[in-house]
C-alpha cells in the first residue's frame, strides 16, 4: 500500500485536510473525521532522496491525530518512535495570501461594490496634506454652490411694508404693502393664495394669532382688522372684525399663548381678542412707538422701539413699563431671541445691530457691524443661533448671535432698500420684502442643496464640514470661506466707513497720548451707542 500522505481538497471554499488514504476508500465521501483548517499542511522529507512513503505506522499515527478530532501541534511526526529514526520527518506550515475574488467583486451589476476598509495609518500616507487639500476643495465647492436666491414673489403693486409668518404652516406667509393690500402667499408653490384690500393707505403691521386662523393687520387708516384667512370672506375683502382706534397705529404683535395682542402707535395698547376697547393703555414719554414685539418665551414681556431713540420693555403683569434704554440713534426694530428669552437684538439707525440682555441694558452684549446704511429690520432664527437683518443699503446680512461680523451677505441687482425680513420657522429660508414691490425667498445657508439628500451624500457633506472646521484657521481656507463679492456701492461704503472708524480711533489715541494720564477714558464702540438706562 502506497497511500499519499495528504489529500488537500477544496470543497466550497473550505480547505479540508484529508488524512491518509481514508477519504479515498470511503465511498460515501464522509469527511466528518477530517478537520477544517485555515492553512495548508505541508510535509516533506529533507534527507530522503525521494518522497517519503507512508507505511502502516505512519497511517496509524495519522489516524491517531484523527482520533483527536482536531489537529494538535505538539504531536508531530518527529516524535514518533521506532523505525523512523533513519528517515527524519519534519513538518512545516505554509499559507499563502490568496483572495477569493467572489468576496471582493459584486455579484450583479445592481449590487453595490464591496468595499474593504483597513484603517491602518501606514496604508493611508500623507494624511494631513491630503486632508488639507480636501478641506480646500470643500471650501471652494461651498463657494461654487453658494446660490442663495431661490425665487421672487411679485404681485404687490407698491412697496412691501411688512411680512408675517404663519405660526403653524411653513409655507404660508402674509405680506402687506404701502397701498393697503395684503397678499397671502404659498411659498411651496410660489403663488399667491389670497389678495385682500385691507386698508386705506399703507399696511403698517401684521401678525397671526397663535392658531394661525386669524390675521390681524393695522394700517394708516387707524383701524385694526382681523381677517379669517381660512374662510372665503377675506378673499371678498370682508374682515371678520374691525376695530377703529382714536390714534394711529404703527406696529402690532400677538402673544404666543393668549388672545392678547399689543399695538404700538402714539401709545402702547393691549387688546383682548374680542373687545373693541383696549384693556391697557400705557406709554413712557411722548414720542410714538414704531415697533412692538411680544416675547415668544416670557410671554408677558413686550419690547418696543420709540422714535425718541429709546427701547422700552413693558410687562403685561404690571401697570407701568419696566425699563427704558436710550440710544444715540434710533432703533428701527427689535427682535427677541426665541431661545434665550432675556436677550434681544435691536436694529439701529447707526448701521449696526446691538444685542442686549434685557436685565442689563446699559451694556450691549455684542455690537454687530457690517451694514453700510441704516438697519431696518431684524428677525431671529428659531434656533436662536442666528438672526437675519435687512438694511437700507440694499443687502441682507445673516449674523451668528454672538459674533460681531456677519456670516453671510445677500444682494441682487434688482433688490432695492429692504423693508422687512423674516426667518422661516424651519430655519432654512429667509423671506425679504423690499421697496420695489417684491418679496424674495432666500436660502439661509447659501450652499445648501435643496431636496432630498441621500445618505452617502449626507455623509460626504458631513465629512467635508468637519474638515472645513478643522482647517478653518488656515489663511488660505479662511480667505476663501470669508470672501464675499459685494456691489460696488457697498464695497466703497465699507471702505469709507473703515477709514472713518480708523480716524476716530486715531483721534482718540492721540487725545489720550497727549493728555494728562488718567484724564481721558476711551469708551468701547458698543458702549458709545448707549446714552442712558432708566428704570
Amino acid at each position: 500500500m502506497r497511500p499519499s500522505i495528504y489529500n488537500i481538497l477544496l470543497v466550497g471554499g473550505v480547505v479540508l485536510l484529508a488524512v491518509g488514504q481514508v477519504p479515498a476508500s470511503d465511498e460515501k465521501g464522509d469527511y466528518s473525521h477530517c478537520e477544517k483548517f485555515s492553512g495548508y499542511f505541508m510535509k516533506y522529507n529533507v534527507c530522503a532522496k525521494g518522497r517519503y512513503l507512508v507505511d502502516e505506522e505512519a497511517v496509524k499515527f495519522v489516524l491517531e491525530i484523527d482520533n483527536q478530532k482536531y489537529f494538535d501541534k505538539h504531536i508531530s511526526v518527529t516524535s514518533l518512535p521506532g523505525k523512523h529514526s533513519k528517515t527524519q520527518i519534519f513538518t512545516m506550515k505554509v499559507k499563502m495570501l490568496c483572495r477569493n475574488p467572489d468576496q471582493y467583486i459584486r455579484e450583479t451589476k445592481n449590487d453595490l461594490h464591496k468595499m474593504q476598509r483597513n484603517y491602518d495609518p501606514d496604508l493611508h500616507p500623507l494624511e494631513a496634506p491630503r486632508e488639507y487639500k480636501q478641506a480646500l476643495n470643500a471650501v471652494k465647492l461651498e463657494r461654487v454652490f453658494a446660490k442663495p436666491f431661490l425665487c421672487c414673489l411679485d404681485g404687490h403693486r407698491d412697496g412691501v411694508t411688512c411680512v408675517a409668518k404663519h405660526p403653524e404652516r411653513l409655507s404660508t406667509v402674509a405680506s402687506g404693502s404701502y397701498n393697503g393690500e395684503v397678499i397671502i402667499w404659498n411659498l411651496a408653490s410660489r403663488k399667491e393664495v389670497a389678495r385682500i384690500k385691507a386698508h386705506e393707505g399703507s399696511v403698517k403691521g401684521m401678525t397671526f394669532d397663535p392658531s394661525g386662523e386669524n390675521l390681524i393687520t393695522c394700517g394708516d387708516d387707524k383701524t385694526i382688522k382681523i381677517w379669517n384667512t381660512d374662510s372665503d370672506d377675506c378673499k371678498e375683502h370682508k374682515a371678520s372684525s374691525i376695530i377703529v382706534c382714536t390714534n394711529s397705529i404703527f406696529s402690532i404683535s400677538h402673544s404666543r399663548d393668549s388672545k392678547t395682542f399689543v399695538t404700538g402707535g402714539e401709545v402702547v395698547q393691549l387688546w383682548d381678542g374680542v373687545k373693541v376697547i383696549p384693556d391697557v393703555t400705557t406709554h413712557w414719554g411722548v414720542d410714538p412707538i414704531h415697533c412692538v414685539q411680544f416675547n415668544p418665551v416670557e410671554t408677558s414681556l413686550i419690547g418696543a422701539c420709540s422714535s425718541d431713540r429709546s427701547v422700552i420693555i413693558y410687562d403685561t403683569r404690571q401697570a407701568t413699563p419696566v425699563r427704558k434704554l436710550t440710544m444715540k440713534m434710533k432703533a428701527n426694530k427689535m427682535c427677541w431671541n426665541p431661545m434665550e428669552a432675556f436677550n434681544f437684538t435691536a436694529a439701529s439707525e447707526d448701521y449696526n445691530l446691538y444685542s442686549f440682555d434685557c436685565r442689563n441694558l446699559s451694556k450691549p452684549l455684542v455690537m454687530h457691524v457690517g451694514h453700510t446704511s441704516a438697519v431696518i429690520d431684524v428677525d431671529y432664527c428659531p434656533t436662536g443661533n442666528e438672526f437675519v437683518s435687512g438694511s437700507y443699503d440694499k443687502t441682507i446680512r445673516i449674523y451668528e448671535s454672538h459674533k460681531t461680523t456677519s456670516r453671510e451677505v445677500y444682494h441682487t441687482k434688482r433688490m432695492q432698500r429692504l423693508t422687512c425680513v423674516a426667518y422661516t420657522h424651519d430655519s432654512r429660508y429667509i423671506i425679504s420684502g423690499s421697496d420695489e414691490m417684491n418679496l424674495r425667498l432666500w436660502k439661509a445657508i447659501a450652499w445648501q442643496k435643496q431636496g432630498v439628500i441621500k445618505p452617502r451624500e449626507k455623509a460626504a457633506l458631513e465629512y467635508n464640514n468637519s474638515l472645513k472646521e478643522k482647517f478653518m484657521t488656515h489663511p488660505q481656507i479662511k480667505r476663501i470661506a470669508n470672501h464675499r463679492q459685494v456691489p460696488r456701492h457697498i464695497f466703497n461704503a465699507a471702505k469709507e466707513h473703515k477709514i472713518i472708524y480708523q480716524k476716530i480711533k486715531r483721534k482718540e489715541f492721540n487725545r489720550k497720548a497727549h493728555s494728562k494720564p488718567g484724564t481721558v477714558h476711551i469708551k468701547a464702540s458698543k458702549l458709545k451707542a448707549i446714552v442712558k438706562e432708566d428704570e
Binding site: T78, L126, Y132
Partner: protein, 605 residues
C-alpha cells in the same frame, strides 16, 4: 450558602462554553478556527466576568431581599448576559497602531470653554482610534506564513515545495519569463495588479500578471534605463537613452518629456502627481503629470544619481550617493532636507519601506544598514555574503536582497534583529538586477539579466487592503472615479516636507526663527517719511514744511532705534562685553587652537 455559590460558578462557565462552541459551529470555519485558538483565554475571561456578575447580582439581591437569598436560573442567565454585552476593551498595542500621537494636555488651557472644547475633541479622537482598532475584527484575510514546527530552517525550503503545498491559485503566482532583451527593470502598480517590464535593449511589456493578460508589448528601439507606472495602469513612463517618454496601456507614445534628459532613475509620487527623475548629470527633476509642467528641477551637485527611492511617509525623494550618504529632497528646497551617512562605503543599493518609516541601504562593505528615516537613527546592521545590488522592503517588513543570481529574504529584520535569512532563491535568469515586492500579495518580482521571475514569499504582503486607497479588484468605473477624485485631491508640491503633519500644527515661530528675525532688525533702515503738510492758509510755507518734515523724520528715527534696542537679543551683545567674560571658562593651553571670534558679530547700535 457560599458553598452553593462556588458550586454554581463553574456550572455557569460550562454553560457559556457550550454555547460558545455551538455558536462557532454555525459560523464560518475560519472564524471558528480563530476562536478555537483563543478559546482558553476567552474562557478565562468569561469566567472572570461571571465572577464579577455574580458578585454584583448577589449584592443587588442582598439589598432588595436581605432574608431570602435564593437564586433561580433566570437570574443567573441575566447575570451572564450583562457583562458580555459590553464592548470588549481594545488592546493597547492595537490602539498604539492607530493612534495619531499624544493628545493635548487639557489642563494647560486657561479658558473654561476652551478646555471643554479641547476635552471633547480629545474624546472624539480617542473614540475614533478605538473604533479603528475594533474594525480589525472585520478584516477577512489573514497574512500568509511559513513556519517550521521543529528545528527546520525555513530558508531551506525551495519554491517547488511551496508550490506543491499551496493551492492552485497561489501556485500560478509563481512564474518565470525567459526574455532576451535584458537586463530587466520592473514595476508593480500600487494595487499590485499590473506589472511593467522594461528590458535595457528596448523591450517594454505591460500586463496584468495575475490573469497573465498582456496589455502591450513594444520595442522602443532605444535603451530603457528605468520605467514606472503613473497614477493608473493606463499610463507609464520610461526613461530612455535621451529623454523620458510616457506611453499609454496600448503602448502608444503619448509624450516625450525633453525636460528630463539622460535619466537613470524614475520615481512617481502618486498623491502629488509628480514624476521625479534623477539624471546622469546630477539633475533632479519633478514633473507634474496632471498638467505637464515641471514643478522644480535643479542640479544636486552630487554627481551621477544611480540610486533613488521615494519616501511614502512624506513624499520626499531619497538619493543614494557613492560617498555612503543618503540625501532627502523636496522640490521646494534646492538643498537636501536631510543628509544621512548610512554607509561607510559607496551605496550599492537602497530601498524604503512602503510606510516610509525605514530606509535600507547596502554598501560595498557588504553591510545592509537599516535606518529610521523619521528619527534619523540607525536600527539594524547586517553583514551579508556578497554585495546586494538591489533591495526591496515589503509591506509587512520583509527585506529582499538580490546579489548575483541569489535573492535572500529576511523577515522581521527591521525593528528586531533577524537571525538568518527567511528564504533564499536562486534565479535562473542570471544576475538579479531589481527586486520588488508586489503590494498586497505574497509575491516578489525579480527583474534579471535574462528575464523575469515571480516567486512566492509567504507572509510578505498586507492581507487586507483598503478599497478606497488601493483596490486590486477595482473595476473600470471605479478606476475612473478614483482618478477624478485623486486629481481633485492632488496634494500641492509645496507640502512635501520632512514632517507631513506640520500643516496641522499651530505655526509657532521657533527660537531659531525668532533669533533670525531679531538679527534682521540690525540691517533694517528707519522708515522713510514722505510727508506733505497740509497748507491751511495756502500761503508760502516752504520753509516751515521742511522743518516739520525734519522733525518728523528725527522722531521716526528715534522711535525706530528705541524699537530695535527693545528687541535686541542678548546673544548679540559684543564679544568683549561683560556678559561673555563672566561666563568665560578659565584659560587653557589649547585656547590657541580655538576659532577666533569674528569681527562681524561686534555690532552695537
Amino acid at each position: 450558602m457560599k458553598a452553593e455559590k462556588r458550586a454554581k460558578k463553574p456550572k455557569g462557565g460550562d454553560k457559556i462554553k457550550k454555547r460558545f462552541v455551538d455558536d462557532s459551529l454555525v459560523d464560518e470555519p475560519k472564524i471558528r478556527m480563530k476562536r478555537r485558538k483563543f478559546q482558553p483565554d476567552r474562557n478565562l475571561e468569561t469566567k472572570t466576568l461571571l465572577k464579577f456578575a455574580h458578585a454584583k447580582t448577589s449584592d443587588e439581591i442582598k439589598k432588595s431581599q436581605p432574608s431570602a437569598m435564593k437564586k433561580n436560573a433566570g437570574d443567573e442567565e441575566e447575570a451572564e448576559d450583562k457583562p458580555l454585552l459590553q464592548p470588549p476593551e481594545v488592546e493597547s498595542k492595537k490602539l498604539e497602531k492607530y493612534s495619531r500621537g499624544e493628545g493635548v494636555r487639557v489642563r494647560s488651557y486657561k479658558s473654561k470653554t476652551f478646555k471643554r472644547r479641547i476635552a471633547n475633541k480629545e474624546k472624539k479622537i480617542q473614540f475614533s482610534t478605538e473604533e479603528a482598532a475594533r474594525n480589525e475584527i472585520l478584516m477577512t484575510e489573514t497574512s500568509g506564513f511559513l513556519e517550521s514546527e521543529g528545528y527546520e530552517e525555513t530558508s531551506k525550503i525551495r519554491q517547488k515545495q511551496i508550490i506543491k503545498a499551496v493551492d492552485v491559485t497561489s501556485a500560478t503566482k509563481h512564474f518565470e519569463l525567459n526574455l532576451e532583451f535584458g537586463p530587466y527593470r520592473i514595476d508593480y502598480t500600487r494595487n499590485g495588479r499590473h506589472l511593467l517590464l522594461g528590458g535595457r535593449q528596448g523591450h517594454v511589456a505591460a500586463f496584468d500578471w495575475v490573469s497573465k493578460k498582456l496589455m502591450c508589448e513594444i520595442n522602443v528601439m532605444e535603451d530603457v534605463l528605468d520605467l514606472k507606472w503613473l497614477h493608473t495602469e493606463n499610463m507609464f513612463a520610461t526613461a530612455q537613452k535621451e529623454w523620458v517618454f510616457i506611453y499609454d496601456n496600448e503602448g502608444t507614445e503619448i509624450h516625450c518629456v525633453k525636460q528630463m534628459h539622460k535619466i537613470l532613475r524614475l520615481e512617481y509620487l502618486p498623491y502629488h502627481f509628480l514624476l521625479a527623475s534623477a539624471s546622469e548629470t546630477g539633475h533632479l527633476n519633478w514633473l507634474d503629470v496632471s498638467v505637464g509642467k515641471t514643478i522644480a528641477g535643479f542640479q544636486t551637485r552630487m554627481g551621477r544619481l544611480t540610486h533613488m527611492a521615494q519616501n511614502n511617509y512624506n513624499g520626499t525623494i531619497a538619493l543614494g550617493h557613492p560617498t555612503g550618504v543618503v540625501t532627502l529632497w523636496s522640490p521646494m528646497v534646492k538643498e537636501p532636507l536631510a543628509k544621512m551617512l548610512c554607509q561607510k562605503t559607496a551605496i550599492m543599493s537602497m530601498a524604503t519601506d512602503p510606510a516610509g518609516k525605514y530606509i535600507a541601504s547596502c554598501g560595498m562593505d557588504r553591510n545592509i544598514n537599516i535606518w529610521d528615516i523619521r528619527a534619523m537613527k540607525p536600527m539594524q546592521s547586517y553583514r551579508v555574503t556578497g554585495v546586494p545590488t538591489s533591495l526591496s522592503i515589503s509591506q509587512r517588513g520583509c527585506l529582499a536582497a538580490g546579489n548575483g543570481d541569489i535573492v535572500q529574504l529576511y523577515k522581521d529584520c527591521i525593528t528586531v534583529p533577524a537571525d538568518g535569512p527567511y528564504m533564499t532563491f536562486k534565479c535562473k535568469q542570471w544576475t538579479v538586477r531589481q527586486v520588488q515586492f508586489c503590494p498586497y500579495e505574497d509575491v516578489l518580482g525579480i527583474g534579471a539579466e535574462r528575464g523575469f521571475s515571480s516567486i512566492l514569499v509567504p507572509g510578505s504582503g498586507e492581507p487586507n487592503f483598503d478599497s478606497y486607497e488601493h483596490n486590486p479588484f477595482r473595476t473600470k468605473a471605479q478606476r475612473k472615479e478614483a482618478e477624478v477624485k485623486a486629481l481633485l485631491e492632488k496634494v500641492p508640491a509645496e507640502l512635501i516636507t520632512l514632517d507631513p503633519l506640520a500643516i496641522t500644527e499651530v505655526d509657532i515661530p521657533s527660537l531659531h526663527d525668532k533669533l533670525e528675525a531679531q538679527k534682521k532688525l540690525l540691517y533694517m533702515r528707519p522708515p522713510k517719511i514722505d510727508f506733505n503738510p497740509r497748507r491751511k492758509n495756502k500761503k508760502g510755507g516752504g520753509i516751515q514744511a521742511a522743518k516739520t518734515r525734519q522733525i518728523l523724520r528725527e522722531e521716526a528715527k528715534k522711535d525706530f532705534i528705541k524699537l530695535i534696542k527693545k528687541n535686541k537679543p542678548d546673544m548679540l551683545v559684543p564679544v568683549g562685553g561683560n556678559k561673555v567674560q563672566q561666563h568665560a571658562e578659565p584659560p587653557s593651553v589649547l585656547d590657541r587652537f580655538k576659532a577666533k571670534p569674528k569681527k562681524k558679530n561686534q555690532i552695537a547700535i
